[in-house]
Amino acid sequence: MTTDTQASRPVPPPVDRPQTLVNLAVRYGFLCLLLGLIVFFSLAAPGFAGPRSAAFIFQSVAITGILALGVTCTLVVGGFDLSIGSVATSALMLSAYMMVVLEQSAFVAVLACLIMGAFVGLINGLLIVRMRVPDLLATLGMMFLLIGLQRIPTEGRSISTGMTLPGGEVAEGTFSAAFLWLGRHRFDFVLEDLIPVPVVVFLIVGVLVWVFLELTRHGRLMYAIGSNERATALAGTNVNRYKITAYMISGVMASIGGILLAARLGRGDIASGNNLLLDSVAAALIGFAVLGVAKPNAFGTAIGALFVGVLLQGLTMMNAPYYTQDFVKGAVLVVALMFTFALSTRRRGGGH
């Protein structure tokens, strides 16, 4: 509400000082929990602590993490992208199709996938910004469209060398070695052949997205749009352009994930990547809780992805059955969201 006409207003009291402990818990609780988990598994599961195991964890979350970083960008502008999973699987099929059926080089295949991802992002953005379709609906529609589209050229079959095409001829092309390198090569680090390329890509992309969102003015304006779109527009920002950009970043990230997946599998597997969407959205949402910022952020997203990876790897090594995995992920997500919103809204309660 408005009008306070008291002649003088006291200096606002220092906010939140009595709640320092809660603040600390909100801020570093999640990181402490991650550290605690690692220590616990190291003691409880022999073989958990070690470079091989660490590299395995990173590898297991790299592709999910890349997608999650993309969806983080759309969350920042107050949107959401449900199509990332299907963009990734489309990139998977497209790269296979380019190489196996059209017999193109790895470079062309990668380029085609990236362009496809950017194009899907552009369409998503235009649907949302120009056609005013709500973000969830637009990207859900796009998800269905892509899931269907990627099956049409091969009549629903997976793509591999020697497969029979709908026309009757046999696909002669192969996955090139350069392409497979993207998914299978391991760099030496401490040990020989330790770190897979996707992990390196994940780390690079993570740093880039973090720099973009936290250090550049474009990232700042995207956060402003997510927080108060109208105020940001009235400050002269081209809100629509930033929103479309966010969806394009998301599309490109998803296609990178799809390329890496294809390179690891070495075939255009129609059934792969089913869990990508939910896992990456979960990572981005868990990211809200990291550092207690209660908003999408690149660092949190990466940590969120790792958290899930550590937990699953640890539990697996302690012989927890595979079918408990989704339950564990869900529990982590719910607890993280509780953490974030219950505690941080109380923390912000003193404000206006």
Binding site: M1, T2, T3, D4, T5, Q6, A7, S8, R9, V11, P12, P14, V15, L215, T216, R217, H218, R220, L221, Y223, A224, S227, N228, R230, A231, T232, A233, L234, A235, G236, T237, N238, K295, R348, G350, G351, H352
Partner: protein, 508 residues
């Protein structure tokens, strides 16, 4: 007042530290239309929300037909016969249902309503309600397909169908045309004869002249005037609502510089007259007028948010027709929008990030933000405007309303502009912050033209070299802020002079 249907005695209400109502006494007599006037933030809406059960009051009590009345929910208020049509039309209708369901919603809710819907009965009931109001409408139409005026009429019709004993209408005509409004007034005449007590909230003087039996003016959470002797003193009511308990600020009218902004035959709407206006460098111009007089519309046109109906704008001699705020800013036209909570403040940002929002490029070499540069800018604005805060890194939410507004003003003063537009810069701001902001605006006015849009006259008097009055999208008065005749300004604000004088007014 032997038939006072509803009496409000000593009502107080505070939101946090903000005392919105400070002891309001009010009677709403049966069979009369009581008009409640008040500027934004005077507390009208809060009072209405207490009467209709949305808010609970902190102190005081309410009597309804001699019995204590303190509704804890809107449905309780309705059961007691207090029916409200809210200002936000969409509170009154459900767009995804058809007209019949909307009109009959209360019957669907009533105890004993069947489990299944009888469409035929629903429609005939709805037709009866619409007919009683003289509303010619297809009851099978979707409300979503109707225009704003029709939705408003449906919301009102539904309120009527509840057979109110006390009917509260919050700016019911804001989206109605003259004929539709007249239809509503006829209905209110009828209700008045049947003894319904009506509380009618409006800014529109033409409405008030048409319908009011009594006028009550509200200001700063208190009743500032009650007018019930015929003929009603409309001008007195406006004065009581705007209040010009004179301020201690003396303005020395500054010398004008060169022309910055020229409006040539600019028309804001079909009904408004052409506006001709020149604003000069080193001049602070205040444009005053009631809500809906066109102040915000004019500001929106100058800032690239809306297009004028016709006419030309020239900025520093060049034609100027911005298509977006971005273009306006690039041309050196900045605007502080009104209502900072929804149009200004980015709630998750700290002071610095809020302040530098429009000019991130100046603080980001190669797009990389320099926190040092930002802090330097912010600190200089904090010093200049006297913002009370711990550091430039505080969350914006930790600041009081006045200090938040200082940051919003500082946002647009941190860079040099040709023309600075400030739409209600003193809204929800305490008197000290208001002085600080006003002083700062005048001190920095040398190199630009400044236009302040303010409904409250003393705000305009406190800041401007020249005051213009808008009434229904036309310029009806111009005053140099020296020995100003307040009576004539108020007459123009309330549209009193509009009838006598043709509204051709060209400001040199």
């Amino acid at each position: 007042m032997e038939h006072s249907a509803c009496r409000v005695i000593g009502i107080e209400k505070a939101f946090g530290p903000n005392r919105v109502l400070r002891g309001v006494d009010l009677t709403i007599p049966a069979g009369q239309v009581t008009v409640l006037m008040g500027a934004n933030g005077a507390g009208k809406s809060t009072l209405v929300k207490i009467l209709c059960g949305v808010h609970a009051h902190d102190a005081g009590h309410i009597e309804l037909f001699g019995e204590a009345f303190s509704p804890t929910s809107p449905s309780q208020a309705i059961d007691a016969g207090v029916v409200t049509v809210h200002q936000a039309i969409n509170d009154g209708v459900i767009p995804d249902l058809d007209v019949a369901s909307n009109l009959m919603l209360d019957q669907l809710n009533a105890a004993g309503a069947g489990f299944f819907i009888n469409r035929r009965k629903l429609r005939s009931g709805a037709r009866a309600i619409a007919g009683a109001m003289g509303l010619d409408i297809d009851v099978a139409a979707q409300v979503a397909d109707l225009d704003v005026a029709e939705r408003q009429l449906i919301a009102i019709a539904r309120a009527m169908a509840r057979e109110p004993k006390v009917l509260i209408l919050d700016e019911p005509t804001s989206s109605l045309s003259a004929t539709e409004a007249e239809r509503l007034f006829k209905l209110l005449d009828h209700l008045r004869e049947t003894g319904v007590a009506i509380l009618y909230i409006s800014h529109r003087m033409s409405d008030i002249r048409r319908i009011a039996d009594r006028i009550i003016s509200m200001r700063d959470g208190q009743i500032s005037g009650t007018f019930e002797t015929q003929p009603l003193d409309y001008e007195g009511a406006v004065t009581a609502m705007l209040g010009h308990a004179m301020t201690a600020v003396d303005i020395e009218v500054a010398d004008r510089g060169d022309k910055v902004l020229e409006l040539v035959d600019l028309r804001l709407s079909e009904t408004g007259a052409a506006i001709n206006l020149t604003v000069h460098r080193n001049e602070v111009l205040a444009i005053t007028g009631l809500l809906g007089s066109g102040k915000t519309k004019l500001a929106s046109v100058l800032f690239g948010l809306e297009e004028p109906l016709s006419g030309q704008i020239r900025l520093c001699g060049e034609p100027f027709a911005p298509a977006s705020p971005g273009e306006a800013i690039a041309a050196g036209v900045f605007m502080l929008p009104k209502d900072r909570a929804s149009n200004g403040v980015v709630p998750t940002f700290d002071i610095t990030k809020n302040l530098t929002l429009p000019f991130t490029a100046r603080h980001a070499p190669f797009s990389f933000l320099s926190r040092n540069r930002e802090r330097r800018t912010t600190q200089s604005m904090i010093d200049q405007l006297g913002v009370v805060c711990q550091s430039p890194g505080d969350d914006i939410g930790t600041l009081s309303g006045g200090n938040q507004q200082k940051i919003m003003v500082g946002r647009w003063m941190a860079e040099a502009s040709q023309l600075l537009l400030l739409d209600e810069p003193f809204q929800g701001v305490d008197i000290r912050a208001r002085r600080d902001i006003g002083r700062s605006i005048r001190e920095t006015a040398v190199d630009r033209a400044t236009i302040v849009f303010a409904a409250e006259l003393d705000e305009a008097l406190e800041i401007a070299d020249r005051i213009l009055v808008l009434y229904e999208h036309s310029l009806v008065g111009e005053h140099r802020n020296e020995g100003i005749d307040l009576g004539s300004v108020l007459a123009q604000v309330s549209g009193q002079s509009a009838q006598q004088r043709p509204t051709q007014m060209s400001a040199s």
